[in-house]
């Protein structure tokens, strides 16, 4: 485990390398929250929007406050590095080293996320405290604990989804722009902008069946009290299933992709 501990530490150092950049990037997550808060205030203040969207005012406001943060927290970025390694042959040095490339990327990703996790955790705690004090959110310590567990699983699920997408680089040489598209579309379908179930039952069913909602929408709906224990239980099973699915998919893609790898430029 020692090499991975070093990789984890390197990840932390990498994310703190440009501190002004790091904090500006975190701060930018606040703006969409402001826009949506104004939107919901307006809609819920002038119409019986609760019946229309299926969320109470408090639920939707807490969703808005936390979805942006969770979506930012689970965001990856490793796909560009993997693509570069495969395209330019940088992968070679990992192949001859006694480390697993997948595990290297995982620990580097977790290391990069650690400082964000600490700061965003503090911001999220502030927002949750605000929701409890001002919006009257009823919260048990058990729900907070389950929320944290779901966040860790969401982080892992998003890692495996993007790692699988990144491994497409074995077959497609320059896919940087495709990563951009995938990442934006996934933010939408994971509920990072709006909870998708406000658009009707069909979309709600789709969100429950597909893996993407389990990276953002599921965790946020645990903390805002929308999900009961049964839904939380089945949600966790789905989250674990999708982590396993993408883990196995990534492993198969790695094995097959490596046979195609020509180590050009390495």
């Amino acid at each position: 485990m020692k090499p991975y501990r070093c990789v984890f530490r390197m990840g932390i150092e990498k994310s703190l390398e440009y501190r002004a950049d790091f904090f500006l990037s975190l701060f930018s997550a606040v703006f969409p929250i402001i826009i949506q808060t104004f939107l919901w205030n307006y809609l819920y203040g002038n119409e019986d929007a609760a019946a229309l969207f299926g969320y109470t005012y408090n639920e939707i406001l807490i969703y808005t406050l936390l979805a942006g943060l969770v979506s930012k927290l689970v965001q990856t970025g490793l796909e560009y590095q993997v693509n570069e390694d495969i395209k330019l042959g940088g992968l070679n040095k990992y192949l001859v080293s006694p480390v697993s490339y997948g595990r290297y990327q995982l620990f580097s990703f977790l290391g990069e996320k650690a400082p964000q996790l600490v700061i965003m955790g503090a911001v999220a705690a502030g927002m949750i405290a605000f929701s409890v004090a001002v919006l009257g959110l009823e919260l048990s310590p058990m729900r907070v604990l389950i929320f944290i567990v779901s966040l860790v699983l969401a982080l892992l699920l998003n890692f495996f989804i993007f790692y699988s997408v990144a491994l497409l680089s074995f077959w497609l040489t320059d896919v940087n722009l495709m990563f951009g598209t995938v990442s934006i579309v996934l933010v939408v379908v994971s509920g990072g902008v709006f909870p998708l179930d406000i658009f009707g039952e069909k979309l709600e069913l789709l969100v429950n069946l597909l893996p993407f909602g389990y990276t953002t929408q599921f965790s946020v709906n645990i903390i805002n009290g929308r999900f009961g224990w049964t839904q939380i239980g089945s949600g966790f099973l789905c989250q674990l299933f999708w982590i396993g699915f993408f883990g196995i998919l990534a492993r198969c893609m790695w094995k097959r992709g490596l046979k195609r790898f020509t180590a050009v430029g390495g």
């Binding site: 950049d21 930018s28 997550a29 703006f31 826009i35 598209t181 934006i184």
Partner: protein, 290 residues
């Protein structure tokens, strides 16, 4: 302000000693319009050389548009008015925002690549060219793959919103609308160039890019949705609301004379500030790594 169109020595005498200042400016403007045309032609040719990349660019921008359209879906689902705006007016406003995003994205890549140019000293090459460095650096690459989806969808949304809201379409209204739209284009360029110029002082600018993108998204909804103080700040201090709200308000006949003057003055003022910051930034350029 030191003309944007002047050449390296600020010497315009080569356009003819007997010419007036205005005719010199006109000649320089003509020359730069020609250069812009050349940039556009070369950009399009190089993008069409790699068609898959062009299609991928369209796909990325379509993905972003999906997020903007979600807001329209929410408004139409709620079916309510925002102040004087009906859902059809809101469609027009969001359409304007999508359309303006397309024009912004056309040269946006030049803004984001500025930090790499400064960090790696690539700016040297552009400093010695016989034309305005700001013009060359910020407009040399035009990305039509990002303009295309926004332009098509934005124009359709504006058209539908305009028609369904029953807004006038006589010559004066259309001309005024197009004039304000061009003012908004200038304001967008100037206002969003300024934060990117920070790259001359700080090394990594991903945070700035994220911040400006987030600020830009404030126009995703009409300004009436925000509180009074936010509207004032967004109109007078950081005039981002002027960009997509004013042309729409003009169409509705809701733009007062004072605001009309501000709609023209704000872009000029922002351009002057951007120009001054650019000159100050260029003095801080150290040509490192070149």
């Amino acid at each position: 302000m030191g003309s944007f169109f002047e050449d390296k020595k600020g010497d315009m005498s080569k356009y003819g000693a007997g010419r007036t200042f205005l005719s010199n400016v006109a000649a320089a403007a003509k020359r730069y319009l020609h250069l812009l045309h050349v940039f556009a032609r070369f950009s399009l040719m190089s993008q069409l050389e790699y068609r898959a990349n062009f299609v991928a660019g369209v796909a990325v921008e379509t993905g972003w548009m999906l997020i903007k359209l979600l807001y329209v879906a929410v408004i139409y689902r709620a079916g309510i008015n925002i102040g004087v705006l009906t859902p059809d007016h809101i469609m027009l406003f969001i359409g304007l925002y999508v359309l303006m995003t397309g024009f912004y994205m056309l040269y946006y890549g030049n803004f984001t690549s500025l930090s790499t140019m400064v960090r790696e000293g690539q700016l040297d090459m552009y400093l010695v060219k016989p034309m305005s460095t700001q013009f060359l650096v910020t407009l040399r690459r035009l990305d039509f793959s990002l303009l295309l989806p926004d332009f098509v969808v934005g124009a359709v949304m504006v058209g539908i919103g305009w028609r369904r809201a029953g807004l006038p379409s006589d010559f004066g209204t259309v001309a005024g609308f197009l004039f304000l739209f061009m003012c908004s284009c200038l304001l967008t360029y100037s206002l969003f160039l300024i934060p990117h110029l920070l790259c001359f002082w700080i090394v990594s600018t991903r945070g700035i890019t994220d911040m400006t993108a987030a600020l830009w998204d404030f126009n995703n909804m009409p300004q009436m949705i925000y509180g009074r103080w936010m509207q004032r700040i967004g109109t007078f201090i950081l005039p981002i609301f002027v960009i997509t709200n004013f042309p729409g308000l003009f169409l509705m006949g809701e733009l007062s004379d004072g605001m009309m003057i501000w709609a023209v003055a704000a872009p000029i003022l922002a351009f002057v500030i951007a120009r001054l910051v650019w000159k100050r930034a260029l003095r801080s350029y150290t040509s490192a790594s070149s």
